[in-house]
Amino acid sequence: MTPTAAKTLRATVASVPGALSLAVFLVICATALAAPILGLPDPADMAFALYQPPSAEHWLGTDNFGRDILSRVVWGAQVALTVAVGAALLSILIGSALGAIAGYFGGWVDGLLSRVFDIFLLIPTFFLILLIVALFGASLPLTIVAIALTTWPRSARLMRSQVLTLKSRVYVQAALAAGAPHWWVIVRHVIPNGIAPIITDGTILMGMAILTEAGLSFLGLGDQNLVSWGSMIFEGQRHLRLAPWMSIAPGVALLLLVASLNLLGDSINFAMNPQLRTRGGAPKRRATTAPPAGETAPAADTPILEVDDLRLVYHAGARRIAAVDGVSFTLPRGGSLGIVGESGCGKSSLGSALLQTMPNNAELTSGTIRFDGRAIVLGGKPVVENGRSRIDALRWTRMATIFQSAMNALNPVTTVRRQMMDALRLHKPGISREEATARIAEVFAMIGIPASRMNAYPHQLSGGMRQRAMIALSLILEPELVIADEPTTALDMLIQDQILGEIADLRERLNLSLILVSHDMGAVAESCDVVAVMYAGRIVEIAPTQRIFGNPAHPYTRTLIGALPSLTGPLEELESLPATDTAAAAAATGCRFAHACPAATDLCRRAAPPAVPLGAGHVSECHYAEDFAAEPSSEPHAAPAAAKEARA
């Protein structure tokens, strides 16, 4: 079994409906298979008294011909399952093969096959079967074929849409580029990766097939020589007053089998589709706390943001992963802080904790966040005042965020202007339409979006314009603090540079405070006064920008800087790092970076380093911080050609 299949099975069984439905289904299958050896009376033998109610002898009673109903129900299960498995298999086989061909080759092949799918979808199952029965007589194999003939387009369309996305996957492209023929690619790469939802759908198809067969038998169109639940129910309904058990028993069996199949299909789908398993499930009610006593009114020199010993933990099953592990910093009003680190270091988690927009499986275990002198998080708990949490009142109006993916952050079905209008009117109910329009035009002009583009929908804007719109949206309510999480990562170099320029300009003009989160030292270098370098959940070094580039005092910072290719400096071999296993690094007894550090000693592996203050706001968590700070960055500091040029 492939690991994915094993994982899916485990996840299916782990849920109550999944385990229950699988158990019911397996019991029915086992009983049906074991029918000949259970010692039941012959289902067709009319050997007993007529219309006997359930008793110790006949658990489910006997019918109008004196046949044992239990035996008939068990043998009937064989017929139901044969139909279900046969029809579903046939339908999936035809459907996924044709669907894969249509999706993979596209063009006229797809056009033609899609029309064929549509035509088959139009054929009503019952009429087709009536026709077949009229022409060839009733038989189980013909019923199975007829059901498959009318259901295969379901699988075909599913497979086609799967293949449409799969064929642009890189590994499919790579196989083609490696010289693989089309049939190879379809069989080895496309179908195995696209079959999962079709199998899920198969269980539902099985339920449908059983119901169709039962319906046919009910109408007397089934094979009269076989025991079918449908014909049993039909017989039973004629004797409903005299012997209700005759129809109840097969009815319940039918219900159980079909319901278990449908439920099983849902459970498998849920287990396989990570999007349905939302991160950590439903939102938990988080404990809150009252505002601390004796808070003084903010003064002019009160920092806009103070963070003290913040700790954030993710719950993943039984595991707890410390993403932010004791982070403290202070951002003065009008200041700017760049937070840099590789993926998984906790920088984005930190950003989401500041705004209290963490996913449901995240929990703050300790820490204080103060905004403009007032606590918004105290001891890891959000502060609630007058029934409203303080952060809710601050978010967007005073503390805004710029997301990485503007395409996902903007509402695709309304214009950008409209979204800004909504934001304004929601937060400033008194504002008149004219004032709002004027304010929107002002922000658009500020961020460099031409007035002609105000009424555009997000998809009509280029990537750069969209990111500008995102920034405009975050600035519309005149916030004091903006938290930007990788605002330029997905953009082209020129646009990136322009957007970073806009952010730096706006910060100066509006006296904004800024937190810029990025994996790229280069991106924060120009926009931020202070840079904090995060590694495995902690800020390992924080310093004014010039110092951190000139005299980096942590070996990790040095590697980060040394890993960037230069455009103007001498060409030299770049430094590189292995990818960090954050959980393992955080669990180390000594320094978190010791496992990858080129200068690690026994001391580093034994004891966690203290925070070493190096003056002028420069702090490094390294045993040898002072030694590192003393020797300047290995790079000579040639002024960039661009800077020289600008001065010339």
């Binding site: 196989a175 322009q498 790092l577 990818a579």
Partner: protein, 344 residues
């Protein structure tokens, strides 16, 4: 200079050229998109040519045509002087064994249902290069070559268990395992963390030193291009605007667009000096509806009336250095400062 191993000769690639009669009648025809317009590039054996450009510049299209994943509307692809543009069947397969591709997204590069070993063995099986019994040994040897150790455990791992940097190393291994002579690498590090990028770039450079493989390295980052390449070609809206030896192209850039790209690289090491930015008029570059004259003039800070009327040819501006700008000489000597000089 040695004979080029792979040449793109006057490539032209137009998408949506023929929208079909129905779309035309209903007036819903999308305008044709010119993804490549007279693109000529030469790859010399054992060297690296970097193609630099923004999204929509046609750099990826050039790469896809070089591997014959797409066929050009016009123009030729030459491998060792032979026209391979229309190859099919066994000849195409033989070409694929010589010209391989590394893709941008490492997280999607491997079939999630196959082990790393199975994925790496696939090209060998396809080309019948190694007998079945020798596959495992060949895979282990290749994993060692891309510095994934212990190779045995990587061979049995599934892609979901690996990090982005490790996945990209395996993607590189898969491209190199059949010992191609040319590898087209389409932004192989842009989706990786900065700290991981340098490791992958160093690996590619090391392999080139050891095996003499030729790279076409596609990137949007000039500093990466400089680190990787011997020559750089700058593309914009489907055309090559400037091409030359890496160091010369950066130190003596003759096209305003190249100059702007150079300015956009955050040279943080230089004590974070604030740069004055030239605010570009608009940032949307679209291949549908190319501007008249020079294709860069709507965004060019130096644009003059002639730029709107006449498209500049790609003309020599130095040794093996060409640029397509009416004012290439001015730009080369004065940089973008020529803007003020010209208008004053």
């Amino acid at each position: 200079m040695s004979r080029p191993i792979l040449q793109l000769d006057a490539l032209r690639m137009v998408y949506n050229a023929d929208p079909g009669i129905l779309a035309r009648l209903s007036g819903r025809a999308d305008p044709p998109v010119i993804a490549a317009d007279d693109v000529s590039l030469d790859l010399h054996p054992g060297q690296t040519l970097a193609v630099v450009g923004e999204s929509g510049s046609g750099k990826t299209t050039a790469g896809r045509i070089a591997t014959l994943q797409e066929r050009p509307t016009a123009g030729r692809v030459l491998y060792e002087g032979e026209d391979v543009t229309a190859l099919t069947g066994a000849a195409l397969k033989a070409f694929r064994a010589k010209v391989q591709m590394i893709f941008q997204n490492p997280y999607d590069a491997l079939n999630p249902r196959l082990t790393v070993g199975q994925s790496l063995a696939e090209p060998l099986t396809l080309h019948g290069l190694v007998p079945r019994a020798g596959l495992r040994a060949a895979v282990i040897e290749m994993l060692e070559a891309v510095e994934l150790r212990p190779a045995e455990s990587f061979a049995d791992a599934f892609p979901s268990e690996l990090s982005g940097g490790q996945l990209q190393r395996i993607a590189i291994a898969r491209a190199l395992i059949i010992k191609p002579r040319v590898v087209i690498a389409d932004e192989p590090v842009s989706m990786l963390d900065v700290s991981i990028r340098s490791g992958v770039m160093n690996l590619m450079r090391g392999i080139q030193r050891d095996t003499g493989v030729t790279y076409l390295y596609i990137t949007h980052d000039l500093s990466v291009a400089r680190y990787m390449a011997d020559r750089i070609a700058v593309m914009y809206l489907g055309a090559v605007l400037e091409e030359g030896p890496a160091e010369t192209l950066i130190s003596r850039a003759a096209h305003p667009y190249t100059r702007l790209l150079i300015q956009a690289v955050p040279e943080h090491r230089a004590s974070a000096t604030r740069r004055t930015r030239i605010r570009l008029p608009g940032d949307a570059a679209s291949q549908a509806g190319l501007p008249s004259g020079c294709r860069f003039h709507p965004r060019c800070p130096l644009a003059q009336p002639i730029c709107r009327e006449k498209a500049p040819p790609l003309a020599p501006v130095g040794a093996a250095h060409r640029a397509a700008c009416h004012f290439a000489d001015d730009v080369q000597t004065h940089g973008l400062g020529a803007a003020t000089a010209a208008t004053a």
